[in-house]
Symmetry: C2
């Protein structure tokens, strides 16, 4: 994997770059739609390319391991062949899901024992096992196995957890070196910085992660309930210790304004379920602000959902029609809202990139944020 830095913003830490993978280029900063079980919810692969213009999607190791399972994925020739998505895929390591979804989980030095939330079957995720599963999935970017401490955590818990994550990381790096890609293209490991909201732990973790000299680095354990300002402070601190010549990925973030703020701190990659999950509930992020499409006020607003972005769906359907679909409980409402929100997120990071390259990112960002945040 290659990362080429194209531009650095002069009045912030924002950067524009290109990541080259075995499945093509990714222009950064980038937002990655979440395709938990190999499907971005309510969106077709064709719409992901043509309407949303997604460059990379995310899969969840925990979910894909349970269903359809690595046997099926290996027989298919990997997730790309299985779901027909031929651009890059990143898989998270399953650590977060083991702690948020599974039952009877037990944490040991070896790894995490858990029971499937689907059928109660027992499984062990160890750093080695999680690397092997991601090899089988065929992810272009593999995430290291980590523990994600809840917010708030006390210092002792956060420190012990971070140290375990570091020992697991060393095992992940070793197991990556000892194993081969399964489908003939390169797979890169991204380690994850932890340390909760403690500055010294975040520094320590960033330095440890940086010392692994991986192809890219991630920041985990943020956007888990802490105040936004604390998230920004931690992200900025991590960025200052993570190498500038590798992509930086902030996991699970966030709102459109969260994304712009974190780009200004030096983050290159984002993922979040917000555009799809909130979309399915009728919340739209648009170039004019936030819309609750179920509100009565949209009943006879026949203007397009969002003319400010280059997406057929956003330009074609009216707010009134979309509201009608939500009120009537039609699936098409969820489809349109998901496509629009994802297209808007991809539009936003593309605009950010353009402004970084043009050299006026920071002033553009400061103008945009109040617009994006307003409730229409």
């Amino acid at each position: 994997m290659e990362f080429e830095l194209l531009a650095n913003d002069s009045s912030s830490q924002a950067r524009a770059g290109n990541i080259t993978t075995g499945h093509g280029e990714i222009e950064t900063p980038i937002f990655m739609p979440v395709g938990t079980v190999g499907s971005v919810k309510a969106v077709t692969q064709q719409q992901l390319k043509e309407e949303i213009k997604a460059q990379i999607i995310l899969g969840n190791t925990y979910h894909l391991y349970l269903r359809p399972g690595t046997d099926v994925l290996e027989q298919a020739g990997g997730l790309h062949k299985f779901n027909g998505w031929d651009r890059p895929i990143l898989t998270d390591s399953g650590g977060y899901q083991v702690f948020s979804l599974s039952n009877n989980r037990k944490l040991k030095e070896e790894g995490a024992m858990f029971q499937s939330h689907i059928d109660g079957s027992k499984h062990l995720f160890s750093p080695e096992r999680v690397i092997e599963i991601q090899r089988s999935i065929g992810a272009d970017i593999i995430m290291a196995f980590d523990e994600c401490p809840p917010y708030p955590s006390d210092y002792a818990y956060a420190k012990n957890s971070m140290e375990l994550t570091h020992r697991w990381l060393a095992r992940c790096v070793k197991h990556m070196q000892e194993t081969e890609p399964k489908y003939g293209y390169e797979q890169s490991l991204f380690p994850i910085v932890q340390g909760s909201t403690f500055k010294d732990l975040r520094q320590m973790s960033s330095e440890f992660v940086a010392s692994m000299e991986c192809d890219g680095n991630a920041i985990g354990g943020l956007s888990v309930g802490e105040p936004e300002e604390m998230m920004y402070e931690m992200a900025a601190l991590c960025c200052s210790y993570l190498p500038a010549d590798k992509p930086r990925y902030l996991m699970g973030v966030g709102t459109p304004w969260n994304i712009l703020e974190n780009i200004s701190l030096g983050i290159d990659m984002f993922d979040c379920v917000m555009p799809t999950r909130n979309g399915r509930n009728g919340m739209l992020f648009t170039s004019q602000g936030v819309i609750n499409i179920k509100n009565k006020k949209w009943a006879t607003d026949f203007s397009a959902i969002d003319e400010g972005i280059d997406c057929h769906t956003s330009n074609f359907y009216s707010k009134a029609y979309l509201r009608h679909l939500f009120v009537a409980g039609e699936i098409l409402g969820m489809q349109i809202a998901s496509i629009h929100n994802l297209a808007f997120y991809l539009h936003l990071v593309k605009e950010a990139r353009k402004h970084i390259i043009n050299g006026d990112f920071n002033s553009w960002k400061n103008e945009m944020i109040p617009v994006l945040k307003q409730r229409l």
Copy 2:
């Protein structure tokens, strides 16, 4: 509305024709996807055109009247403007839904009193009111208001019901003549033959309907639980009394083999919720037969859903991936199955038309039916 007959099959009553409406041509025989509240469930308007190749869709007067309501539809400039579907639309009259969905319905000479299944509000559908609502919706083809008797019905009930439907029809015809289209294009009324499964009533009703000299004629009250052979017998009988130079529409039918059999009897137009409703439950109609995609046997079948038809979705996704989506409860599974089934129905009527024009429809149909029926 114009109907041009292009070909008559020599060994059956099958015909191929063209219907010209204010929103373009319809090539018959045709299948019309059902878009109850102005959305074909789980399918975008773009997919309807590009993947499914739908030429006309159906809307439900009962549903559209309750939500979004004629006020909103009139402000939008009609349903075409509201949902962005610029090809022909047919609306049923609401008679069937009043009896199958609403509460506390009361049948009078004037019309049907009912309570909304959504909020319990009280409404009257009369022949005149139902014409006006369909004028407001802006349907290219308006259906007459009818009572659809259940199966089985006794002779006396069926006869009284048919006579009421005929008196309502006369009022519909009169009200069509006394009112104008709302949006500048022609709207055509199709009357509906009733008479349950009684031959003399079906003959009487067909003759009465034919005497109205409308632009096209429909057969209602079939596919409501009667044996298939009885449906074919009634459809054949009705076709023999309905004028050959007008399109004939068999309402609510049916399976792929039902459609081919009825084409051979002289039917030109069909609608049915089966491809979408069964699709959402994982039942696929394909060029090789019927598939329950949830079955374990498809778990590692990486072949395309159906390579026998010209539809990107059917050719692109594998059976194994689609099964996975259904097992995991992903919305995309319902989307893919709905698109595929509708594309298959449209493929089937297009093939039928080709064989009618080629002069070998009947032998093709007799070869196809056992293939279509087989469970894979």
